[in-house]
């Protein structure tokens, strides 16, 4: 590859500057601030703060509520990631086979992509409305009294469902293009080599989708951990009470509702480390494995 050089050192720096400023202002500065305040205990009225060392962190680890929310976050992330990927893959495999009206079908499946998370949450509220929500009615038919925002498990279910629904289209688009980039002749060779359609899928199609799948796995974990904030906030109407929430939402609740800036900062530092680990893992894997042709 040819490397182009700049005549002066200042031009490239100047060109990078807008991006660097944005990153610095919106990421490094708040991150540094969060790290700093995670070692302090703030006065509830904002008059001052005292250095407490790692107390905020040790408090978190001793806190059973925090551990419960962390556990819920893990379960929530696993469920959302698994179902978003599995459903999207299923839909993509089916959509790939559709010949007549394929475009309409695909467009309809991708539509939800354009829905913003809070809107998705609001649609969830409507679907699970206590008195007339169609999904509440459906549960009533099978004898379950579905109470969103009251019953812990019901609320968790709604959160997972709406988050999955919101994420399936993104995965669908990636899986579909992944499927379509598998050479036709390779699939035809498999058709001659193996009479079982499911055998062909697991032996040939699925491994060839693995690079796409791995990329999506990371994207989906990140989504479930962080971007579901809007969905959760809307579903619990900003008043979580005893309802389930994820770690990100807890950061918000503790920091901005509970005014515990130190504790909240410690939580966000923990999440930051988590994201860092995930990113490193992703780059390692992408570089090392699952790379063909």
């Amino acid at each position: 590859m040819k490397r182009a050089g700049f005549a002066t050192r200042w031009l490239p720096i100047l060109l990078l500057l807008p991006q660097l400023i944005i990153i610095a202002v919106f990421f490094y500065w708040p991150a540094a601030h969060a790290v700093q305040s995670s070692f302090y205990l703030q006065d509830p009225f904002g008059f001052g703060s005292s250095f407490v060392g790692f107390d905020n962190y040790t408090d978190l680890l001793d806190n059973s509520e925090y551990r419960r929310i962390a556990w819920f976050t893990v379960v929530f992330t696993v469920l959302v990631t698994f179902f978003s990927l599995a459903l999207a893959l299923l839909l993509a495999v089916k959509a790939d086979k559709v010949i007549r009206g394929a475009k309409t079908y695909r467009t309809l499946l991708m539509w939800v992509y354009a829905v913003a998370p809070p809107v998705a949450g609001f649609i969830g509220l409507i679907m699970f409305n206590q008195s007339w929500g169609p999904l509440t009615r459906l549960f009533e038919q099978v004898g379950h009294d579905f109470t969103l925002g009251v019953n812990y498990n019901d609320t968790a279910f709604a959160m997972v469902l709406v988050s999955v629904w919101k994420q399936v289209p993104v995965n669908f688009i990636f899986f579909l293009s992944g499927l379509q980039s598998i050479p036709k002749s390779v699939r035809e060779a498999a058709l001659i080599d193996n009479r079982s359609a499911s055998g062909r899928f697991w032996d040939v199609t699925f491994p060839l989708l693995a690079p796409t799948g791995f990329f999506l796995l990371i994207i989906n974990i990140t989504y479930a951990l962080f971007e579901t904030f809007g969905v959760i906030d809307t579903l619990v109407k900003g008043e979580p009470g005893n309802n389930p929430m994820t770690l990100v939402y807890k950061v918000y609740v503790d920091g901005f509702r509970g005014n515990d800036l130190g504790g909240s900062s410690a939580q966000s530092v923990i999440l930051m480390i988590l994201v860092l680990a995930l990113t490193v893992f992703q780059f390692r894997m992408v570089e090392r494995r699952i790379h063909y042709t």
């Binding site: 002749s185 390779v186 058709l191 001659i192 080599d193 193996n194 032996d203 060839l208 042709t293």
Partner: protein, 346 residues
């Protein structure tokens, strides 16, 4: 090993395009048949219909007296070699070759033995644990062949298997494939657009054009007695000279010279003569005005005009030729006559 029967096989796509007009022929046990024609002539469609990758609109397809119109590709007892090899990129060479056997419930020991045999036959022994991406084009082609061989199928199908290789490798693989087919004795259908491949490899050639079979015959037949002007111009490089002529009471005249006698023809027609069937002859009645001499080493091609018609002629390397007028004559009985309107052989 098997015979193949095609009876009125027809392919019409949903958009109404008829890719293959109803076609019938029969392939003998162990025969090597080459389907040849320009792009879009329906040859690949026909092959893919035999493979089961393309649905059959109408007609009957029988492999060894078994009607396989609606049989799954995996159950037709065929093996196919694709143009771009179609190897499984995530599997090692060994797995690529073994995959078809594993799905047919062949024992592990037997698979290992068959893979080893095929690898030895194709000089792939050192590459069995590599991935296809680590192989050269020729080696990939061999793996594709190996995948077909181990299956021990009734029928080999080749879809332009050599067109992605460079010229030298292509000549070598051409001979290897032919030799392999001879040794294994497996009935084969081979699709190509390269008439040299068709001539050199085929027991019988099927020339196709615009979804229709133009001619079925041995390479010799197709070359010397083309059934139409299309076949005459498609087979042979350079192609047959096709020249307008007039027939008068059984005498065919071209450029004022009698070139052929044929009882049953009358009026305008097309007469064809191969470049090597025009010979320099001091007593010849025709005069070829040579414009360009193409030096090809083993022989020379002379391009020029007889009367107003462009003609190409072929002479050996020992014949000294300069541009300018050259008296020539035609080899007796080397002339083909075609209907001027339909292009069919007369």
């Amino acid at each position: 090993m098997a015979q193949v029967h095609l009876n009125g096989l027809n392919k019409v796509y949903p958009n109404g395009f008829e890719a293959l007009k109803p076609s019938s022929f029969h392939i003998e046990d162990g025969e090597f048949v080459v389907l040849v024609g320009p792009s879009g002539c329906g040859k690949s469609t026909l092959l893919r219909m035999v493979a089961g990758l393309e649905e059959i609109t109408a007609g009957e397809l029988k492999i060894d007296d078994r009607l396989v119109n609606d049989t799954d590709p995996a159950d037709r007892d065929i093996a196919m070699v694709f143009q771009n090899y179609a190897l499984y990129p995530h599997m090692s060479v060994r797995k690529n070759i073994a995959y078809g056997l594993q799905n047919r419930k062949v024992g592990k020991a037997e698979i290992a033995q068959k893979v080893a045999e095929a690898a030895a036959m194709l000089n792939l022994g050192d590459y069995l644990d590599r991935k296809p991406s680590q192989l050269s084009g020729g080696q990939r082609q061999r793996v594709a062949m190996g995948r077909a061989i181990v299956r021990d199928p009734a029928l080999f199908l080749f879809d332009e298997p050599l067109s992605n290789l460079d010229a030298k490798l292509r000549n070598q693989m051409r001979i290897e494939i032919k030799a392999l087919q001879r040794r294994l004795g497996v009935t084969s259908i081979y699709v190509t657009h390269d008439q040299v491949e068709a001539m050199t490899m085929a027991d019988r050639i099927i020339v196709m054009n615009a979804g229709r079979i133009e001619q079925i015959g041995t390479p010799e037949d197709v070359y010397h007695r083309p059934a139409s002007t299309f076949v005459a111009s498609f087979m042979g490089a350079p192609p047959m000279n096709l020249l307008p002529a007039m027939a008068n009471k059984g005498v065919v005249e071209f450029a004022g010279t009698e070139v052929h006698r044929h009882e049953a023809v009358e009026g305008p027609l097309v007469f064809g003569v191969r470049p090597e069937d025009i010979i320099p002859d001091a007593l010849g009645e025709m005069l070829l005005h040579v414009d360009i001499v193409e030096e090809l080493g083993a022989h020379r091609l002379l391009h020029g005009k007889i009367g107003a018609e462009q003609v190409t002629m072929h002479v050996g390397k020992d014949t000294e030729i300069a541009s300018g007028p050259l008296p020539v004559s035609l080899k007796p009985d080397a002339v083909s006559l075609f209907d001027r309107a339909t292009g069919a052989r007369l």
